[in-house]
């Protein structure tokens, strides 16, 4: 019975792939003036509307609210991004087409210069972030709900709660308790949050049409900042002594102090860049592979038809790889954070 279902699922996937292969040329022909790098940057980056696709020439997109504070006029503005479509100007705001603020909302000041207002618009990434955060809270609280009125002697959870418990145990024991000798409860909450936040957003990011959150440096910056604060706010005397008065020969002490001091900052910066670059590069690679279909079709229909199945196979492979990366990067970020935290509270120092 199970095998039958698997077979059916495989047949379904295969036929879907085949039909995609047949459908791709039609779609590709519609986009004769295809620009791969523009497409990739658009997908990786942020935008004021949630753009899904184009059917013919009609974009399928959800306009999102633009929230800006004009420093020129000194007041708040809130309006739909649909007013700014195709370079239109609305209440003195427009989306810059070029220059330093390309793709951002700008206004013109008294000197006729383009300036950025204070922009806390709910962009695609911001909306996705809010939705994902709400989902994450709902999922974890849903799991926590299961434990209510449960005794230790009751059976352990099955299904989704079971998977969550397994992952929580993994992070809790293998990452947190293995690396942090004291005050485990103080750090456990943050590290679990970091792991699940990154893992969840990595996974959601892989769904076509969703936002590339963990591949955005603002997101990884805040996460790295939290780790930085966790490490340095609670670091004990030993930790600071090792940084500024390390156990090395006298003349090396000032050199080591400088190096260690920079180390305080390079560690979280490395965390920030690693996560951002991995996820961003994964998305870029995937999009580049998809672009191959459109590029080859723009060269010749025969070449395109030949390349399409191969490209799709590669895409499937890369998607699986990205699933792995989604987990690994969440794991690595949490693991390194735990290691840094562990180093900030050394215990038995001779």
């Amino acid at each position: 019975m199970k095998k039958q279902i698997t077979n059916k699922a495989l047949t379904l996937i295969f036929s879907l792939l085949v039909s995609l292969c047949l459908f791709a040329p039609l779609q590709a022909r519609a986009e004769a003036d295809f620009n791969a790098s523009e497409m990739i940057l658009e997908h990786i980056g942020d935008s004021y509307e949630w753009h899904f696709t184009n059917i013919g020439d009609t974009p399928v997109a959800i306009p999102l609210p633009v929230i800006v504070y004009s420093q020129v006029r000194g007041e708040w503005f809130c309006f739909s991004s649909s007013h700014l479509e195709e370079g239109e100007e609305y209440q003195g705001f427009r989306i810059a087409r070029e220059g330093d603020y390309e793709g951002k909302v700008v206004e013109t000041d008294a000197q006729g210069q383009e300036v950025r207002p204070v922009d806390i618009s709910l962009t695609k990434n911001a909306v996705a972030l809010l939705i994902n955060s709400a989902l994450l809270i709902a999922i974890v609280l849903g799991c926590a709900r299961w434990y209510r009125n449960k005794l230790v002697t009751d059976a352990s959870p099955n299904g989704f709660v079971g998977i969550m418990e397994m992952m929580v145990s993994m992070v809790y024991y293998d990452i947190i308790k293995a690396n942090i000798p004291v005050h485990v409860q103080r750090y456990a909450g943050y590290l679990l949050c970091a792991f699940f936040f990154i893992f969840f957003n990595n996974l959601i990011g892989l769904i076509p049409g969703s936002a590339n959150l963990t591949g955005n440096i603002a997101i990884t910056f805040v996460l790295a900042l939290c780790t930085f604060l966790m490490v340095n706010l609670f670091g004990n005397k030993e930790y600071w002594k090792e940084i500024f008065w390390a156990d090395v020969p006298g003349w090396l002490k000032p050199v080591m102090a400088v190096i260690e001091f920079f180390g305080i900052f390079t560690k979280p910066v490395a965390l920030m860049i690693r996560l951002f670059a991995n996820i961003m590069a994964g998305h870029a690679a995937l999009l580049a592979l998809v672009s191959v279909i459109f590029i080859t079709f723009s060269i010749s229909a025969v070449l395109g038809t030949l390349m399409t199945p191969l490209t799709i196979v590669f895409c499937v492979f890369l998607d699986c790889l990205e699933l792995l990366v989604a987990f690994i990067q969440a794991y690595v970020f949490t693991m390194l954070s735990a290691v840094f935290i562990g180093l900030s509270v050394p215990q038995h120092h001779e």
Binding site: L129, R148, C193, N216
Partner: protein, 164 residues
């Protein structure tokens, strides 16, 4: 390069949402799960420990029971041997007693028989005596029917006494 510069708006939303996620989950999410996981781990460890102890105890009990069984068997065989010995002794004793008793009885019977024999012999003797006297009387009466014969008899007897 815009990819490498954090956007201030997104930064703001990220700070807000991550802090909300952090505080909500730290307060209501993780502690419940980790506490339960910890407790269950402890419980499982304890259960394993007690299971190990129970197994040890069981093995000990089994050992003890086999010991007891062995002892019981030994005792049983010993008692059986003793019983056999005792039976043999009793039988032996009974036999000897029976022999002694039999011999005693036999001896008594012999004595009785002897006594009775003697009695009988005495009886017979007496009878024989009486009979012979009677016969002698008869014979005498027959022989001394006539006076002549009586006189002959007296004469012979007197002769006999005189010759003596």
């Amino acid at each position: 390069m815009s990819l490498l510069i954090p956007d201030s708006g997104l930064l703001f939303w990220m700070l807000v949402s991550f802090l909300v996620v952090f505080f909500v989950l730290v307060k209501f999410g993780w502690p419940i799960i980790t506490h339960m996981v910890d407790e269950r781990k402890k419980y499982i460890d304890e259960s394993l420990e007690s299971a190990r102890k129970a197994n040890e105890r069981l093995a000990q009990i089994q050992e003890e029971s086999t010991q007891i069984l062995k002892q019981a068997q030994e005792q049983q065989s010993r008692m059986l041997a003793e019983a056999v010995e005792m039976r043999n002794q009793i039988v032996e004793k009974a036999k000897t007693e029976a022999t002694v008793e039999g011999q005693k009885l036999l001896a008594e019977a012999k004595k009785q028989i002897d006594m009775e024999k003697e009695d009988a012999i005495r009886d017979i003797r007496r009878q024989v005596g009486l009979l012979s006297v009677e016969i002698a009387e008869q014979v005498l009466r027959q022989n001394l029917k006539s006076d002549k014969e009586q006189m002959a008899m007296i004469d012979r007897m007197l002769d006999e006494i005189i010759t003596k």
